[in-house]
Structure formats: C-alpha cells, structure tokens
C-alpha cells in the first residue's frame, strides 16, 4: 500500500512558548484509509492537521523537529499551495471558510487557484455539484444556507480539486444530530465513489459509529467518558410562567411554566425558532403576552458577548447586586477574580456569565447552545455545573442539539417546530417516542438506548 502521510519523530511548538505542543510523534496513513485522530481540546489535534496540509509551520512561524513526508516528498520541499490540491481540507466552522458570495463563485475561486483553464471550469463545477448532489445550490448565496449545507459546500470545494486525501477538522461539531448523521452517510458514499483517503480530527467519535477504520489517540481522554444522567431536581414551586407569548412575525402563541430547580431542554430542527424563543422570553425581541418574572438570565452561545468590564469580579458586581464574593466561590471562580473576563477559559467564561446573572438576582437561566463545539471534558463540566446550580434552586432552560447532553441533564423537554411549540414533555416520555423525535429532527440518545438494552 502507498503511504500518503508519514510523521517521523515530529515535535512542534510555537515560537513564543517554551512548551512543546506534542513531542516525538510518529504515525503514517495509507492510501484509501479512514483515520480519526482523537484527543481533548488543546492537545494539538488542529496543529497536527495544519502540519498535514502545510498551513503550519509557515503561518505561525512554529518550530518543527523531525520529518513530515507527504506522498513521497518531504513537506518542506513543496512550493506554497502545491500540496493543497492533493490534500484538501474541510474546517470546523461553517461560517468562516468561504470568501465569495455564491457557491458557483466559491468553486470557481478554487479552480482559479489551481490555474485551471477557463474552458474547463464550467464542466468541473457541474461535475462536482453532481457528484455531491448539490446541483440545486449552484447559484445560492452561501451565508444564507444552513450549517449542514455549508459543510457540504465546503466539502464540494475541497473535492473539486480532485484531491487524494481529505482532511476533516471536526466537521460536524456545529450540526444538529440529524444533519450530522446525514452528512456522515453522505461522506461515506463519496469516499467509496472516489476512493479517497480520509483523515479526521474529532473529539466525539461516538457520533460517527463505524465510519473510521482506525483511530490515533494523541492523549488519553481524562476520565470523562459517558455523561451520567442526573436526578430530577424539580422542587414543585412555580418559578417561571410564560403566558401567550408571541412575536409579530415568526413565533406562534406560546405558554408554559417551569418549576424552581427544573432543568428544561428546548430542542427542535435548525431554524425552528429556539434562539428566537429564548430572546423573546428575556425581552430582547419585542413580543405580546406576559413572562413572570420579567427579569430572566440569558447566556448567549458566545458568553463573552455579555462582558462589559475588565475583570471577572467587576463583571459580577456590574449590575449592582450583592454577594459577588460568595458566588465567585460557589461557581469555582476564586482563582480568576482579577483576570480579564475575555482571557479565561471557555468554561470559566460561561461560569462568569451565569454568576453575573445570578448576582443580578436573575434566578432563571436561559442558555443558547452551550454545548456546540465543546469536547467531552467541558461537556461534563457543564453538566456538573447545571446539576449543582439546579439543586440550589436555579431554573434552567437550555437550547441544545446534543442529545447525549440533553439526556444527561433534562428533567423536561420543550419541543419546537417552525416557530410553534409542540409542547412540554417529561424527558423519558420523549426518549421513548421515536416518532416525536424524528418529527423534530432529533435522535434517540445512546445513553437511553444502552439503558433499554439493560432492561431487555
């Protein structure tokens, strides 16, 4: 078999840091293989991928020891851009990997980079769109497409170069479970048609089922395997009452109540109005109807959008509330009280956001997609945090499409479709009802299935 990528005793570090990202790494990938590289955030997965397509070390002036062989030539011997049409890449963020407005222009941009003759371009664009089943999207404006569609377009852009190797950088981390599954089976067929070599980095291999032949682990995962299901913490006292809330354009009339200490998950297909509902509830979008209490806490997908001050401590006391010191300790933020809220880790940012909401006396926390792009360790940290807070009486309403996470934390589920709230259900009754799940683009959690197997 032909070796396409080979690392021999490779070490890498950034020029301004003493610490090596990884040391003495050796592996090889052969033609036609499907390999996944795993490891927790920050272990150098992305760095490794960037070394395979020669984005590094040039782009960060990094220091490399050892030899990297791509096909049968040493990586340094390639001209800039030369190896990129043999080794193509699909990145993680569906929003930030395009430079043109329409799909056609984007594909043409790629062909121009390869100095393809103009006469051939039209045919190659048509062919790749046919191969990938995206012919209808030729004139679409990329930024108006959904995340799943964008990832397919990105893959088409990679395939139009007729590469031998396809590198995937956590390509499904921003997709809902249903879309992710579709993307994976779509990719499976493409790989067979083209006999591609696929090298992916991924921290959640479980979603891929048996897609990969082999996995390379960069660092053992620190004991954060399956999320454990928490116990119900509803305290029977009504905390939130939503009565006939609706917006002028999209959101239909919505009523429900949540109890003190309840953890509810709001789920539904992409674009079904989950974020809109959250924003409406906390008064960011004008609406009719009543929400009691009117002051709700809100944590957006990027918690740093909330930050106004220069230190974690000021951030908590910004709203004029008392008890910042106690909250800092209870939410494990004592070590970073003086730090800049932007400079702490993502998990800490989220805790700062929640703490400042609690400090303002907002006892009901609405969270928008806190799970997207998070690795296993930070997911279990988040689940732990929610459990701990809920036991102390905080009510949560969480938008997520991570079913394992929902299974672990949710007492109840609110399901939404096309701006219409289907209803509020107890978590277990939803996991049982496959029809209800499919109708909302959801999948049965593996945790639930494992439990069913036990019972059977």
């Amino acid at each position: 078999m032909l070796e396409v990528i080979r690392f021999d005793h490779v070490s890498f570090r950034y020029p301004d840091e003493e610490k090596w990202i990884f040391e003495d790494l050796s592996f090889s990938v052969e033609h036609g293989e499907r390999v996944v590289i795993t490891g927790p955030s920050g272990c150098g997965k992305s760095t490794l991928l960037y070394l395979c397509n020669r984005l590094y070390p040039g782009n960060c002036d990094g220091i490399v020891k050892g030899t990297i062989t791509l096909f049968d030539k040493e990586s340094e011997a390639y001209e800039p851009g030369e190896v990129n049409h043999k080794i193509a890449t699909v990145f993680q963020d569906p929003d930030a990997q395009f430079c043109m407005l329409t799909v056609e222009e984007e594909l043409a941009f790629t062909l121009e980079n390869l100095n393809v003759n103009r006469k051939e371009m039209d045919e190659r664009i048509r062919d790749v769109l046919e191969l990938t089943g995206l012919t209808d999207f030729r004139q679409s404006i990329i930024q108006q497409l959904s995340g799943g569609e964008k990832q397919r377009i990105a893959t088409a852009c990679a395939l139009i170069m007729e590469p031998e190797v396809l590198l995937l950088d956590e390509p499904i981390s921003h997709l809902d479970p249903y879309t992710a599954k579709q993307f994976i089976s779509w990719l499976d067929e493409l790989q067979k048609k083209r006999s591609l070599t696929i090298v992916a980095i991924e921290h959640r291999v479980d979603l891929w089922d048996s897609f990969f032949d082999r996995s390379i682990s960069l660092e053992s995962m620190p004991g954060a395997g399956l999320l454990l299901k928490r116990e119900i913490s509803k305290q029977g006292k009504q905390a939130l009452q939503v009565c006939k809330v609706r917006t002028d354009s999209f959101l239909q009339e919505t009523s429900f109540t949540l109890e003190k200490g309840e953890v509810a998950v709001l789920a539904g297909p992409n674009g079904s109005g989950k974020s809109t509902l959250l924003k409406t509830l906390c008064g960011l979008i004008p609406s009719k109807g009543t929400v009691k209490p009117s002051q709700l806490g809100y944590v957006p997908q990027s918690p740093e959008f909330l930050f106004i001050t220069k230190s974690v401590k000021d951030e908590l006391s910004f709203g004029g509330g008392n008890g910042a010191d106690i909250l800092l300790e209870r939410l494990h933020l004592s070590a970073v009280t003086e730090a800049h809220p932007f400079a702490v880790s993502h998990g800490q940012k989220r805790r700062v956001a929640i703490a400042s909401m609690l400090c303002d006396g907002r006892e009901i926390i609405l969270m928008d997609e806190p799970t997207s792009g998070q690795d296993a360790a930070s997911l279990s940290e988040l689940a732990g945090l929610i459990d701990e807070r809920a036991r102390e009486g905080t009510t949560f309403l969480i938008v997520t499409h991570d079913m394992e996470f929902a299974y672990a934390v949710a007492d109840t589920l609110l399901l939404i479709k096309k701006g219409y709230l289907t209803g509020k259900f107890s978590a277990d009754s939803v996991w049982e009802d496959e029809q209800l799940l499919t109708a909302h683009h959801l999948l049965q959690p593996k945790g639930w299935m494992a439990r069913e197997v036990c019972f059977a």
Binding site: N59, P80, F98, C99, L101, V116, L284, P300, F305, L306
Partner: protein, 251 residues
C-alpha cells in the same frame, strides 16, 4: 440604453468619476458644479435603472451638508470684496462671497451626485474583480476585501447580539455622542476578538484550497472593457468640457 451605466467596466467608471471630481476642484464658479450635477442626474435618467427613491434618500443628507457649506462660506469668507448684493440683519453679503458659497455648495452636490452614480450602478464584487483584472490589484488584497464583504451579514448580526446582551445587563444607551463613542469600546472588544479568530480561519480555508496570492492566470468571471465604456467616457468628457467652459458663455 437603459443599462449602459450598469454595464460599464467598474474600473473605468471609477477612474472617470475620480477625474471628474478632481477637475471640479479647480473651479470656483457656481455654474460648473451645478451643470455637472444636473448632467449626472440626466445621465442616470437616460442610462440607468436606479431606484430613485433610494437616490433621494441618499441625497437628503448631502443637500443638508451643502446648506452647511453655504452659510459657513458666507459667514467665514476670506474674500469679502465686490458689490454688496444682499443684507441679512447686520451682515452684508458681497457678490464674491455669494459666488463662493454657491460654488462650494454645488460642488458638494456634484461630488455626491457622482459618488451616488457610481455606488448605485456598480456591483461591489464586479468592482473588486475589475480592480484585480484591469488595475492589477494584488489578489491577496482583492480576495481579502471580498472575504470581508461576505462576512458583513455575520458581523452585523453579531453587533446586534452584543448590543442586546449589553442591554440585558442594564448598560443604558448613552444620548451623549462623546460618551457613546467611549462606550463603543465595550462593543468593539468582543467584535474585534471575534474578527481575529474569523480572519485566521478564513485565511486558512483559502490557503487550504491552494490560494497563494500570486497573480492569477485565468478568471472564471471576466470583467470586460467594451464599446459602452468608450461611449460613456466620451459623454462624460463632453459634460465636463461643457460645464467647465460654461462661465465663458453665461457671463
């Protein structure tokens, strides 16, 4: 006919509009800029399919700005010679003053007219592609600009989200312009931090698709220079010559 201005080569149009503006800067009589302004409107009536409601909307601030220039020139004039033509309260306005004031305000209108002609009849993407194909703009810069352009809706959305989040935290919107500028920093910080991340991702995605920033050998969309450019350039030149010499036959 109706689409001649839209079909012009964007670079040619850009150079043409710029030349017109520079020429205008040398003239201090009211007639030249006035004629240019009217000529530009005529051209758009004849050779474009622009949305005139939009045109009016954009023109309003410039008309107000022209008024600002008008009275400023009257009050703070350098040259107050010539016969007095007008007296308002205790102020005497001479012919020279009035001429200067009118010429500067019309100049504002002519400049805005030219700018609007360009803005309303040019496709932004074609403009950048044309700068690359006709004006030898480096692809590295050209495509970076296009990346920025396609990020506009994403960043705008982010801007609104941050504003909303800050409002939720009780940050009040300042009425005072100066305070508002200072407060802007708080919205800017998360936006710029996000922009740094996005810039790196976008650049990596481009390079991963073989983009090196070298001059390109072939283009999928070719922006042509054609006959219509020739006709339009001649028409504009005629307009400029007529307007510039207008002083001679009007007096």
């Amino acid at each position: 006919m109706k689409s001649a201005l839209h079909n012009m080569n964007p670079s040619v149009k850009f150079v043409l509009v710029t030349i017109c503006m520079f020429t205008l800067a040398f003239f201090f009589n009211p007639w030249t800029p006035l004629f240019v302004w009217m000529g530009v409107i005529m051209m758009q009536l004849l050779f474009s399919r622009i949305d005139w409601k939009m045109w009016m909307l954009f023109m309003i601030p410039f008309v107000i700005m022209a008024f600002g220039y008008f009275w400023t020139t009257l009050v703070f004039a350098e040259d107050k010679s010539g016969p007095v033509v007008l007296s308002v309260w205790s102020m005497h306005i001479t012919e020279v003053q009035l001429n200067h004031a009118l010429s500067l305000s019309f100049r504002v209108l002519a400049f805005s007219g030219l700018s609007l002609l360009f803005a309303l009849t040019t496709n932004p993407v074609s403009f950048i592609l044309s700068l690359m194909q006709q004006m030898r703009l480096s692809p590295k810069i050209a495509y970076s600009i296009l990346v920025g352009y396609q990020f506009l809706p994403v960043l705008k959305d982010e801007f609104v989200q941050i504003q909303q989040a800050h409002r939720l935290r009780g940050a009040v919107q300042e009425k005072n312009v100066f305070r508002r500028l200072l407060n802007m920093r708080k919205i800017l910080l998360p936006m710029l931090a996000g922009a740094v991340r996005k810039a790196e991702r976008a650049a990596f995605a481009m390079e991963a698709r073989g983009f090196t920033g070298e001059k390109r050998k072939s283009f999928y969309t070719i922006i042509h220079v054609g006959k219509v450019d020739g006709y339009m350039v001649s028409l504009f030149m005629l307009l400029i010559v007529l307007s510039c010499t207008s002083v001679l036959y009007i007096n």
